[in-house]
């Protein structure tokens, strides 16, 4: 049995080579006719109103992003458990194999419920859209 990561590395090389070849072929084929106005940012035909990197708005989901980190780490911890679960049931019985994970997921579920009640997973409307309905902190 050879190391499978050699083959995965080889596919990485191929997966990069295909797009790069396409870019190269395209650079041979395509014309270059620089003209004023072609390079303007597309804003549905209007004169562009400035950079998108300088505007400020509520991206809404930083709390969701924090929750994601919590649950993502949770899945990392669940995966090894799923792999050995079947053998563990045979070895130590179902209660000892399952209950710790039930407690673990239970704590997370309580956390999700708390975030839910606090409106972390709700899309926030601007205060102009709904006056005074904003419980977001």
């Amino acid at each position: 049995m050879s190391n499978p990561w050699i083959a995965i590395g080889a596919l990485a090389v191929v997966a990069l080579a295909i797009p790069i070849t396409m870019m190269f072929v395209s650079s041979l084929l395509r014309p270059s006719v620089p003209e004023q106005g072609k390079t303007a940012t597309y804003e549905s035909g209007e004169v562009p109103t400035g950079s998108s990197q300088k505007i400020k708005f509520n991206i809404q989901y930083y709390m969701v992003a924090l929750l994601f980190v919590v649950f993502d780490i949770e899945t990392v911890l669940i995966f090894p458990w799923t792999v050995i679960y079947r053998d563990a049931v045979g070895a130590v019985g179902m209660t000892r194999a399952l209950l710790p994970m039930v407690a673990f997921i239970g704590i997370l579920a309580v956390g999700l419920g708390w975030a839910w009640r606090n409106g972390a997973v709700r899309w926030v409307r601007s205060s102009r859209a709904t006056k005074g309905a904003d419980t977001y902190e």
Binding site: S2, P19, S26, L29, S44, V121
Partner: protein, 348 residues
Amino acid sequence: MAPESAPLPETLAELAGMDPNSVPVMILMSLIGAALIGTLMMTNTALAGPWAKRKITAAFTDRIAVDRIGPFGLLIIVADSVRLLSKELIVPEGVDRPAWDLAPLLIASSALLGFAVIPMGNGLHLADPEVGLAYVFATASMASVGLVMAGYASNNKYSFLGGLRAVAQNLAYEIPLILTGASVVIFAGSLQMSEIVAAQSQTLIGPLPSWYAFVNPFAFALFMIANLAEVGRNPFDIPEAPTEIVAGYQTEYSSVYFVLIYLGEFIHIFLGGAIIATIFLGGPAGPVLPGIVWFLIKIWGVFLFTQWARSAVPRVRIDQLIEIGWKGMLVLSLANLLLTAVIVGVIA
């Protein structure tokens, strides 16, 4: 079913009569095998993108679509690739240059990378690491980094909104997707793709094979829905939402960069199909026909499903998407995981 044969590079080495234990031979054979897999997937994508997608959408909306060049309009694939590659590349003002160039590359190549561990039948299985399923989920979610890069670097407000929507969507659906995948691992007891496929080779009731789609249809439905969001198709295509934000993160891309993003999306759909085929539909298993044909039928079936959803299901709003993801899918996938564990525990 016979147990999975050796990985593709070893088979190739034996065919060429070379020693499969020497590293240089394996590197060479791996490259050949990878080129084979890459070509296969690029062929699928070439068929799907310019031709099948149009034909399917046309059939849903009672039109004819491409039929002028070649039989059934098939040569449109050649015409379209020449047309798109020979377009002028317009670099808009103020783009963040390295990121703007790297994003299409990342989107196109990350999805292709996932096929390394997918068993396609007839020995077409490039690598079989023990962490197969975790690896394939990791490569599938790498594309969202590319989407954010494209959205932010384009210096366009539509692109920026599209990129941010892509993050919101992936955050909301990644966890249900992976947790539902984990419920399959409870049955199979392994992350290795060949083991997961082998575990589905018994029969369930009568002629019905014990594919996990039949063993746990609830998980299958959850996974299909989460997968639609993962690949960004209707009803979860809000990162692109043509009627709202033009084309989202790909608004400012033209020429070969547009091709690469478009290509990446289709490879991603097929990768989603390949994951579903492997962990829920028995991989390449099936009667009469050879494995690779069954595998292709299954991934094209998933592709057809995404195109059907695209034609038939209206798009959800972003706030609805967050609610469906965090309040619906996540709770359901946790319930599915625990229920599966209890059932497996009682049976085992």
